[in-house]
């Protein structure tokens, strides 16, 4: 119960301690940050155990204030699920950065910003107060703007500026939406807002507020009409940060907040679900088509992120239990394999020194670990059967057909085929084919980078077992229930406070 405030607090405290003590010794930074992220991962697993032993979601009173008055932190199936994803990937990324970030100066600044971003994401996930959500969202965003510009080269600064402007406009839309919501409901607690909205009903101002929220959070999640910043910002950052941004950042700040607001606070209605499905289908097709033409390794992966986010939004938009299950499962899978692919691209860049896939080739013999893990990730993202990506895409497509939206299932299948096409192009150009002369003395990457990649690859294979009924009821089903019985969220202040 008392672990709940530790999720944001450990990250924040760790960030300031690293900036205070890490100036002298790089080794201290490495060990300390890894201990913090490992502890956060352990705590998130433990939160799942606590939730299992309870019948109701948990509400934590920060400062001892009763929820509608004070800020509350909420732990239910969905937040526990998200916490596990975020902290697992973050742990792998810090493990990877031990070796990768050696080439940059001022490693402690990187770790400070990374921990701040992690604290922001964890805070967004556990909070039960909408303004608190905004504050954590801004903490994570400001840290990510600085991390995108970390290398201070011309391209990185340009990408960071573009990202910063679009993302701050998105934040202002969200703040404006919160202003409307507060003026109507006179409370900031999300469960309390849900109660007021279900009693008073929605009026035009609330419709306007929900459009502001959709625009704001879709900008954060990079859904297609709002995606322009992502293909610049994600490749420009250092590889661990690209992995973090693409793997967990857009999901914690975009998809999770959209779910929380529109399923739990506003309540899902058909118009909204249709909008989600449309946005998702457009994202799938446009992202895949744009990814086909790329020759930059990381830029291709960034467009692929847009494509895969489309699947998640499409599944959520279906609104049926099966669709939501598929969306959540795909969310887990995508965060695992996309961060793995970005780490692979970082490993290739680390040894070869370029990101243009036309200049590479035949790296399979020289870098066996990188090439086999990236093969696993590519196969699972394009939906080859034994891997996890196949099952989640299958569930989403089946749910589309089951709900009677055959057209959307066609778009989803088309997107999947295109995904296979561009990942075959990637694999063929980078790891297969002939090795150019100048890469004859290329060596495999250092130990910690290999460890992180291998563990994520194992998660790709094991992740497929999550849909088995015996495993599903522990992790996926509680998260799915939070969304399918969305409006039960308004009761948590009565049943959750201990």
């Amino acid at each position: 119960m008392h672990i709940l405030p530790l999720f944001p607090a450990l990250g924040l405290g760790g960030a300031f301690l690293v900036s205070l003590l890490g100036r002298r010794s790089k080794k201290f930074c490495d060990i300390f940050t890894n201990v913090i992220t490992c502890a956060l991962f352990g705590l998130s697993l433990y939160s799942l155990c606590i939730l299992k032993s309870q019948t109701s979601p948990l509400v934590y009173k920060v400062g001892g204030w009763i929820p509608p008055i004070g800020i509350s932190l909420v732990l239910d199936g969905l937040s526990s699920f998200m916490l596990i994803i975020v902290n697992f990937v973050a742990f792998m990324i810090t493990l990877y950065s031990v070796n990768y970030m050696e080439k940059f100066t001022a490693k402690f600044k990187f770790y400070t910003l990374f921990l701040l971003m992690l604290a922001g994401m964890n805070g967004v996930i556990v909070t039960g107060d909408i303004f608190n959500l905004f504050v954590f969202l801004e903490i994570a965003s400001v840290a990510s703007y600085a991390l995108v510009a970390y290398g201070v080269e011309a391209e990185e600064l340009e990408a960071s500026f573009k990202y910063l402007i679009m993302s701050s406009v998105a934040s202002l839309f969200i703040l404006l939406g919160i202003a409307f919501l507060y003026s109507y409901a006179s409370t900031l607690n999300m469960a309390d807002i849900a109660v007021v909205l279900s009693e008073k009903g929605l009026n035009n101002a609330m419709l306007f507020a929900s459009i502001l929220f959709i625009v704001g959070f879709s900008l954060k999640a990079a859904i297609v009409p709002f995606h322009a910043w992502l293909p610049d910002a994600h490749p420009s950052a250092p590889a661990p940060i690209s992995a973090c941004l693409s793997g967990i950042f857009i999901k914690a700040l975009g998809v999770y907040t959209l779910c929380r607001l529109f399923y739990n606070v506003f309540g899902a209605n058909p118009a909204l679900l249709n909008l989600f499905m449309g946005l998702g289908a457009v994202s799938i097709v446009v992202g895949a088509l744009l990814a086909l033409g790329q020759v930059d390794f990381k830029r291709l992966l960034a467009y692929s992120s847009i494509n895969q986010i489309g699947y998640i939004i499409l599944g959520l938009g279906l609104g049926t239990p099966l669709g939501i299950l598929g969306a959540l499962f795909h969310l887990f899978n995508h965060s695992v394999f996309k961060s793995l692919l970005f780490l692979n691209s970082g490993a290739v860049e680390y040894t070869v020194g370029t990101r243009n896939i036309r200049d590479m080739g035949g790296l399979r013999e020289k870098m066996p670990v990188t090439s086999s893990t990236s093969l696993i990730a590519s196969m699972s993202i394009s939906g080859i059967p034994p891997f996890n990506g196949f099952f989640s895409k299958l569930i989403i497509i089946l749910a589309c057909i089951h709900a009677g939206h055959v057209v959307y299932s066609f778009w989803a299948i088309l997107g999947s085929i295109l995904t296979l096409a561009y990942f075959m192009k990637l694999q063929k150009n980078v790891f297969f084919g002939n090795l150019p002369e100048r890469y004859n003395n290329v060596r495999e990457v250092p130990f910690f980078m290999k460890t992180a990649m291998v563990m994520l690859a194992i998660a790709c294979i094991v992740g497929g077992f999550m849909v088995l009924p015996k495993v599903k009821k522990y992790i996926l089903s509680p998260a799915q229930n939070v969304l399918t019985h969305g409006l039960d969220y308004k009761n948590i202040n009565e049943i959750g406070v201990k």
């Binding site: 008392h2 405030p5 607090a9 924040l12 405290g13 300031f16 301690l17 900036s19 205070l20 100036r23 934590y60 009173k61 920060v62 400062g63 001892g64």
Partner: protein, 149 residues
């Protein structure tokens, strides 16, 4: 006493006035911080005023003199310390059972030593904000500026 030399910073008039006023501004910032819980103001407002006194010093005497008194590592050290102090106050709430719980004696309203840990939090915030703002100013001023063709 080379900081009175006319080559660095502004003119003698500005320097003299600054020497008189900078202490007052600093004191006013501290006053705003310490009375944050009984009157309008608080850690952020007080911290901004304290930071303005540092910036005032820098504008009048030039950056060498200001950096001699407040070197950059010291600024970032104090900034982190302020944050950690605030974080410690939050963690100490666990003594009373809840994160951020104000378990100190609340005292009598409208007295200086009242309102539990709010005074301590204000001090921590003032340290963080003043050195943070001054740090931002320093970073923007000291940026090496060599435009390319």
């Amino acid at each position: 006493m080379n900081y009175n030399s006319p080559h660095k910073g502004m003119t003698l008039i500005v320097k003299t006035i600054t020497r008189i006023t900078v202490g007052l501004i600093l004191l006013y910032g501290i006053y705003i911080t310490l009375h944050g819980h009984v009157s309008p103001g608080g850690g952020f407002a007080g911290g901004v005023i304290i930071a303005l006194s540092f910036i005032h010093l820098m504008l009048a005497f030039g950056k060498e003199e200001a950096l001699r008194r407040l070197p950059k590592p010291l600024v970032s050290l104090f900034e982190s310390l302020g944050a950690i102090l605030f974080f410690t106050i939050a963690i100490l709430g666990f003594v009373g059972g809840y994160f951020f719980l104000d378990w100190l004696n609340k005292g009598e309203p409208f007295k200086l030593f009242s309102a539990g840990s709010i005074l301590l939090s204000n001090i921590a915030i003032a340290i963080k904000v003043s050195f943070g703002l001054f740090g931002i100013f320093l970073v923007l001023v000291l940026l090496k500026f060599t435009p390319k063709k």
